[in-house]
Amino acid sequence: MLLGVGITFVAFVLTELVPGDPAAANLGQRAIADPAAVQAFREHYGLDKPLPVQYAVYLQHLVTGDLGQSEQSHRPVRADLSEYVPATAELAVTSILLAFVLGITLGVVAAVRRNRLTDQVLRVISLGGISMPTFWLALVALYVFFFKLGWVPGSGRLDPGVLPAPHVTGLYTVDALLAGQLDVLGTALQHLILPAFVLAAYNVGLLTRFTRSAVLEVINNDYVQAARAKGLPERTVVLRHVLRAALPPIITVGGLAFANVMTGTVLVESIFAWPGIGQYAFHSATTLDLPAIMGVSLFVAIVYIVVNFVVDILYGVVDPRIRVT
């Protein structure tokens, strides 16, 4: 809670540091020459009032769930967010799932084959993942898989001319599935797959490293030896006994993985023309759209806090010794 107030404060102070004038950034050339128009703009957005008053008004609105009006789109920030968030959510969730599946698999393989060639190769791959400039990977992937090979469609969420299924969740794949429109589901998936993979690269690297060390912590414990001695197949030993015990520390990376995806999505969305909050954040930052910047920051920070909370709970579920208090 305190953190939330702090976040609004930081966002507010930051945007007030702006040397540029929001009126100048958002009004047209002709309007800016007209003092009356500038005055009207400032009054409309409360910019003529002293700063503490502006902040108090903002907080007051915030409590009722009102994030203010975007100076760029001239719509309530909440409406903007509810339009862009589902697009990012679809991309981010897919990407995080991909990263966990790939990262844990590679990490277990590296741990089982420790210090062999496979392990060394995986180490280089995972370091490559965290060293990859996401925006560049997106560009190269788009060039190779779209332009050269034609395996995936280009940018956007759907093929041109295809309408999304009736709005239920805003996630095009889920909506299409609910409406039973399999062709729409197909296009949506085709458009989703490449950006999701690109976005996952960093987290795959991270999770591979984490999984490997978490697995190595437990792989030689006595109970694992006992399971082997019992004659269980190695596969069962690794999946049932080792991975189960190694899971808690791996889950803690969830919060970090989310933060990475949010960072990556700003860059990836701009290349794939994905209409999500990454693009929205970028446009509001470059146009000095104060309510929008604050809205996005607040939203992302709150989701981040929630994600970390969920991670704590999951930790308790996976490791019964830990109780969430």
């Binding site: 953190l3 702090g6 976040i7 930081v10 966002a11 930051l14 945007t15 540091l17 702006v18 040397p19 540029g20 741990a111 420790r114 210090n115 180490r123 280089v124 370091l127 490559g128 965290i130 060293s131 990859m132 400039p133 996401t134 925006f135 560049w136 990977l137 560009l139 190269v140 788009l142 060039y143 332009f147 490293r209 490997r212 060390s213 190595l216 912590e217 792989i219 030689n220 933060a259 949010m262 960072t263 700003v266 860059l267 701009s270 290349i271 954040a281 970028f282 930052a285 470059t286 000095l288 910047i293 996005v296 920051s297 992302v300 920070a301 981040y304 806090i305």
Partner: protein, 297 residues
């Protein structure tokens, strides 16, 4: 004499067996990282002698494919991409070193103060780090650069704003745990000033973990700066900066060489720093990361 040497001997025993740091340099990965990073540093120093063309010189040979005359082709203004990539090292490398040094200094000092004095000072500094951590890095960095106006200098400032807290946290934690270590208490009992205890006894033991973090952050700094420039918030044209060159590459999508080569430069530099950082961490802390050898116990 024994009074002088007491903390020193304890300090050594607190560290891991001597020579572990040296073993980092025998790892193939560390050597690869050294060679890559070394090569880039040499390029940055000698670039006026190596680069075949002026990085800003425009010509009528627009968007040429890579050839023997232009190894990496030419861009939309007929500039030699190879020369621009080489010159880019003069921005990214020094800025990364500068940034991390500043972040270590600012974060280290604040973290040291927080850990040593505790109380409300600690509270204020730690809440400030919480705030920074609550934002995904690029969103905060974007907001800062947007607020200050897009330029390379402001992008550097923005990265500094998001980087210092991790050092403050690490240094605070170490100072707090070490402050209670027996050998520090021993020095204090022997009458050493708190400043002496901090500088002579605590600081050397903080150096290792901070060094690991700093090496890995060199790569992150290069990435984040390039990312901001890619978004148009950092270096401005016609500056030969890798991130903004990749951005130009997205506008000339079919001319793959314009974006691919600057991106390779970013990747190789970041990879070099990460190779080094990872090997260092192995050597300093055998329990974390790749060094968990899983030897049969």
């Amino acid at each position: 004499m024994s009074v002088q040497r007491l903390p020193l001997r304890f300090r050594i025993s607190l560290r891991r067996t001597p020579g572990t740091l040296g073993s980092a340099w025998t790892q193939p990965l560390a050597i690869a990282g050294m060679i890559l990073a070394g090569a880039w540093i040499l390029i940055a120093i000698f670039v006026p002698l190596i680069a075949p063309y002026d990085p800003l010189a425009q010509s009528s040979q627009l968007v040429l494919e890579p050839s023997s005359a232009h190894w990496f082709g030419t861009d939309e203004l007929g500039r030699d991409v190879f020369s621009r990539v080489l010159w880019g090292s003069r921005l990214s490398l020094p800025l990364a070193f500068f940034l991390v040094a500043m972040a270590v200094a600012v974060g280290g000092i604040l973290g040291g103060i927080a850990g040593y004095f505790g109380g409300w000072v600690d509270e204020v500094i730690m809440r400030a780090t919480d705030l920074v951590f609550a934002f995904p890095t690029i969103i905060l960095a974007m907001a800062v650069t947007a607020a200050l106006g897009p330029s390379l200098r402001n992008a550097v400032l923005a990265v500094l704003v998001v980087f210092w807290p991790s050092y403050a946290r690490v240094v605070r934690g170490l100072v707090m745990s070490l402050g209670q270590a027996d050998y520090v208490s021993a020095t204090r009992l022997l009458g050493a000033s708190s400043r002496r205890a901090l500088v002579v006894d605590v600081l050397p033991n903080v150096a290792g973990p901070v060094m690991v973090l700093a090496t890995l952050d060199l790569g992150n700094a290069v990435l984040l700066l390039a990312g901001l420039s890619f978004l148009g918030l950092g270096a401005q044209p016609p500056t030969p900066e890798w991130g903004s060159m990749v951005n130009t590459g997205t506008q000339y999508f079919e001319r793959w060489w314009m974006g691919t080569f600057p991106g390779f430069a970013i990747l190789s530099v970041v990879l070099a720093f990460n190779f080094l950082g990872d090997s260092l961490r192995d050597a300093l802390d055998p329990r974390s990361s790749w060094a968990v050898q899983g030897r049969d116990r």
